[in-house]
Amino acid sequence: MELIPALARWLHFLAGIMWVGLLYYFNFVQIPALKAAAADGTAAGITKHVAPRALLYFRWSAVVTWLAGAALLGGQFVSAFTLSKGHALIGIGAWLGTIMLFNVWVIIWPNQQKILGLRPATDEAKNRARRTALLASRANLMLSIPMLFFMAGGLTHRAAFGL
């Protein structure tokens, strides 16, 4: 096994687990917890101490995952993204991952900055930001399901689905 692809695959998995793990943390744990915490006035503990740290690792692990994935594709990068024969399945996974990265940096993070008070915003703008960030985060949760299916594609998929 060549060293660069082996290290890229390892880093892709490590960073990807952190990224998707934090995405699942937000959707399965933090969002429902914030609702409960808002009811008893303890939400500030989450929004002040937990959410900014989780978002820091979330957005940067997304970048590392994508870059390590691109390094892993190497010379097959263009074939994957153009869904060429033999690379279409990993290409679908790569496109889904790229859309998710776009959602993180272009939709989720700018809106979270308003919600957490890192950027000035009126109450109305904060409410809009909450809704937009929630939908983008949920869209990424939805996209992670086919993304992981196509990323993990191998002999099992060929046997079970004829892919």
């Binding site: 959707n27 399965f28 869904l83 024969k85 279409a88 399945l89 679908i92 929630l134 939908l135 949920r138 869209a139 949760l141 939805m142 996209l143 992670s144 399901i145 086919p146 299916f149 196509f150 689905f161 004829g162 892919l163």
Partner: protein, 31 residues
């Protein structure tokens, strides 16, 4: 109509449906 992304379980079901749709599309148009 309610947005399925408002419910975590509807989001997961949407992800599974999207997976199935992409598998069918890949088998018929890409492979």
């Amino acid at each position: 109509m309610k947005n399925p992304l408002d419910s975590i379980w509807a989001t997961i079901i949407s992800g599974l449906v999207l997976t199935a749709a992409l598998v069918v599309a890949a088998k018929n148009f890409l492979l």
